[in-house]
Symmetry: D2
Subunit: 349 residues, 4 copies
């Protein structure tokens, strides 16, 4: 049993980690912290977990962590992780960081997208970008895993087979993303107030979204050339779920069958990718992955214009956050990548 800590356990990602880890056969959750709820029962904040945890939230301390954990999931805000990661690594504890602080290889990008000078460029090199479909081998024995952002995950998984195929006229892609409200986290604010959020179809950060940086890094690696991504997110009424519609212009004709084969081929052997082609449900829909770690991938081609749209559908808290983090952790530990994650999606939900 690997002893696991969840730092920042009171948010939605923390809660989702606790939900998964509660029934993960190779893991024991030993330490869960929350600044706001320290001393209070986990189930006060996460009433769904009644019966699964008797523990209280703790205040964080490096000493306690050292006593209690072999691996730690960090569910902290961007920039806050920086204060924890180097020290925890020094203590010999594995880190799976769900913030953005170690996702980008090029330190100068932190200045541009996150507004701070990155203090640990060396750690950026050591960190493995925790998207197992692209970095499976590197994840084995990884000590620092930088778990991808949800909009980035959706965009990359949709775009990867396309940029890999050398079919594009230009390598400037539009990723028009639609997301549920849980993506915004557990803190109430004006825009998340139910009467304001329900029935909204609301663009946000539409003049440039940070996850584009991750998407460009990863897609450029695959394409072996510079790929640019304009990521335009929209808040819609769902609670869970994200759909990325990645639009591009084809340089030449390709049949749907060939594109389907290329997609199948690209993701061969990856357990959480399902390539969609069906009469009744021809395209991916987050509805069919809710509660699971699957990413459903599909596409549409408009022949007269040589326009292709790649779609990917994920549960933003699972494949977009906690589920993917556990998947990467599994690989790093030599477990099956779907250990503790063999959960069929809920339907209807």
């Amino acid at each position: 049993m690997i002893r696991v800590a969840v730092i920042g356990g009171s948010g939605y990602t923390g809660g989702e980690l606790l939900r998964i880890l509660a029934v993960h056969p190779k893991v024991e959750v030993t330490y869960v912290t929350s600044r706001e709820y320290a001393g209070k029962p986990i189930t006060l904040v996460h009433p769904n977990l009644r019966g699964f945890y008797n523990m209280n939230f703790s205040q964080f301390s490096f000493d306690k962590l050292g006593d209690k954990a072999d691996a730690v999931f960090l569910g902290l805000p961007h920039k806050v992780s920086l204060e924890y990661v180097p020290k925890i690594l020094e203590m010999g504890i594995q880190v799976i960081d769900l913030s953005a602080d170690f996702r980008l290889k090029d330190p100068t990008l932190y200045k541009i997208w996150y507004g701070y000078e990155h203090p640990y460029p060396d750690l950026l090199k050591k960190a493995v970008y925790g998207l197992p479909e692209l970095h499976y081998e590197e994840l084995k024995n990884a000590k620092l895993i930088a778990s991808p952002g949800c909009n980035a995950t959706a965009t990359i998984l949709a775009g990867a087979p396309l940029v890999a195929s050398s079919l594009l006229e230009t390598y400037k892609l539009i990723s028009d993303v639609k997301v549920g409200s849980s993506e915004g986290g557990a803190k109430p604010h004006e825009g998340s107030h139910h009467p304001e959020r329900q029935n909204a179809i609301r663009p946000y950060e539409a003049d440039g979204h940070r996850h584009a940086a991750e998407a460009e890094q990863e897609l450029s690696l695959i394409a072996k050339r510079d790929v640019k991504v304009s990521l335009v997110p929209h808040a819609v009424s769902s609670v869970r779920g994200a759909l990325a519609s990645v639009h591009g212009w084809l340089s030449s004709d390709i049949s749907e069958m060939d594109m389907w084969k290329k997609s199948i081929e690209f993701y061969k052997g990856r357990k959480f990718i399902r390539i969609i082609r069906s009469n009744i449900h021809p395209y991916p829909d987050p509805k069919f992955v809710i509660g699971s770690n699957f990413a459903d991938i599909g596409f549409a081609i408009e022949k007269r214009m040589q326009r292709i749209t790649m779609f990917s559908a994920i549960d933003n808290l699972m494949k977009g956050a906690a589920g993917q983090a556990v998947q990467a952790f599994n690989i790093s530990r030599g477990f099956e990548e779907d250990e503790g994650l063999r959960i069929p999606p809920l339907r209807p939900a």
Copy 2:
């Protein structure tokens, strides 16, 4: 491994059974039928199950069933089960019937509530009402399990500790139930059309709902006297979830603490009952059981009027249908009652 068949596998209850059984460690699903989709892949109808089933739906035949199954879950409409159950039992195969056809002990009630003369009064005696919290012992080795209705389950679980406590002025209860749209099944109709159903708060069958018969049967057993229940269901916007608010008048004062203790005591040892009392979430809410087999039970007392309301929250497809059927099956087979059902609820969802 017990070989299990699901008859009527294309509806929501069938889909939910398949979802649970796909990862149930003691069970192998060998035979799944659907009149409408025979010959077509299970995953065409249930796209969430892509990757879990490669099988097609079959046409039903008693011979095939005999070859393939040790136990069968029947997800058929009311009255249709009657045509299957006696013959399947004769074949020595265990039946878990999710229709209403074997739930009521008194055959005359079928005439009143379902409009038909029950042809097998003897089987009614043999059938075990599959609510494990009330019939745990009888379920052991049961050959015919009549799995309860969802509104009945919610009403009975809420009402049971109350009628058991001899605190009521009269034994006429109002069960005001609020349910999500999945309770209406997978067939589209006028009232289930999204623009009509979304944002509805719509009473239905408000002049008498059939599940009252089950609720009266079970609550009378517990109270050891005649209990009457008026069940008034309302369709609300959720997809999953049912909340029963069971209103009664108390004959004497009781403190919240005492009522809480009585509830705890009543359900002692039952793994899927959680008695709710909390600062942040003081009452049950189906939101916190989505995707799981839990029933959350709580209550409120209005002192000045001696009014008590017992609440129970369930996922109508899990504890209200498929989950409960598997729970009862587990007990009948000597497994842990939560085998294959140790799934924490999804949150937020």
Copy 3:
């Protein structure tokens, strides 16, 4: 043109008043205040009203009010209205108060339900309870109108024809109310956070809700005897809409046709009451009154138990708040009661 002020114009009730008054042919909105948004455009807070208001919110001052308004709608929190009403009345300006501060005739009830000693028992006598269906004549020329609460409005309108008919076994009623999220106002809080509120079916204040006091006052007047009401509200997923299900036990048989006639008779001539009886939509549903001032009233009788449930469906911001306030104002000014309110409900919505 009557010059009208809206005090507390940045909340949902304020916004709804502004929406109605913008196109009310007999009214000019001259003064709109907001503590939080003073100096900022009305349309910054209410983007739906772009094109209808060029005004900014003002800080409140009695002098300004005196200069600008003949009538004032007060959209202030409970207890805060007390500080404004006496002085405004002295200034000779008509007050339509949407808080609870002048709704109850018996001053001792304020101690019990609102926790304060009412300082103006004389004004309580002068105030007219602004439910036009019950107080039409008194509203003519009323100087102080106490506009009813939304849950109270729904409960009273449903219960009135029933208690008027002398058909009840006992005069203790259960009003099981289901409400949309806009009822909770415009301020975000934990429970209103979209991921928490969406798909909830959540009882609240279930041990006694304040609006019961209004309901008891008004229903006792009609019944000419003491009526007790236990009001149990539930939050459901809709944004707008409230349904009250008022449950009672009948003392004797009554046919549906007779009950329908009694209801029709009771509300004869009242423009905003629609008595529902239909094949396709047999019961009221807030869905069919969204955006309008209508209250749809209907009922169900379960004969075997002599249980009756009266239903009323309203838009909580219209008939439950701003619409009803304007309706009462219209009557007080000798206008048609539906002046500026002849808006058919939106469907589907």
Copy 4:
């Protein structure tokens, strides 16, 4: 008073026309037909309109129409309108056709997009495309108005100021549209079943949507060059509302302020266009136009990539269908374009 008929009055567009026309001061609704509901009360199908119509639906007959109407709104399926329009025009009755049958000027496009040879190319020339923001002058005295499709309306209104500005690198646009469920009409089907539709984020007709033909026709007219539009619609959870995100690549830098001015300039004097730029709500959202005929227009520019996204938000049943039809009718009759349409949007809704 102009006597008006609504042919095909039982669907959502028909219902919305009836809702508007019920309170339109210059119009009397004299004749409403429905094949399915002939002989039955209008309010049986449209319960929101109780109190506004005492009429029944009629079977259609040209004779009756000739007796009763000066103008007719046709809410019929595509291709069916063809059988009515020429004859009605011959009778001297004005036609506002809400189908696609007279929207396209080039008859060959009907073969391509709708699969039929257009039998009346001459009428295509006479028909006026009923988008008042672009064809105001032509609409005056128009005898045949072809009312635009909802996705086309959203796409054109968003794209028009952009293609007018000569700022684009290429004139191939992506219109990524998100729509509510009412766009699919009043007939229930598998995909509209509430448990299937709620929480969906589902692309449909993603390999080419017919409304692209209208969008290309109109945008090419404005751009005075060939504009291509790839329209990719997505079903989201709302009931009402459509948002078009029209993505393009800029050929040169333009500041937000300049683009804002260009948009303001382009739509100068048009009553139902609101150009959005605000701190709190920076982009259009259909939430803020619900129940009204407004189109809110805004945009975002991602400087580093010279990507522009134009957004337009409409209520698909109002500006996307019935409201726009009445607006065009108003202009054709010399009324104010907002006659009967001066309704502020509902909020929150």
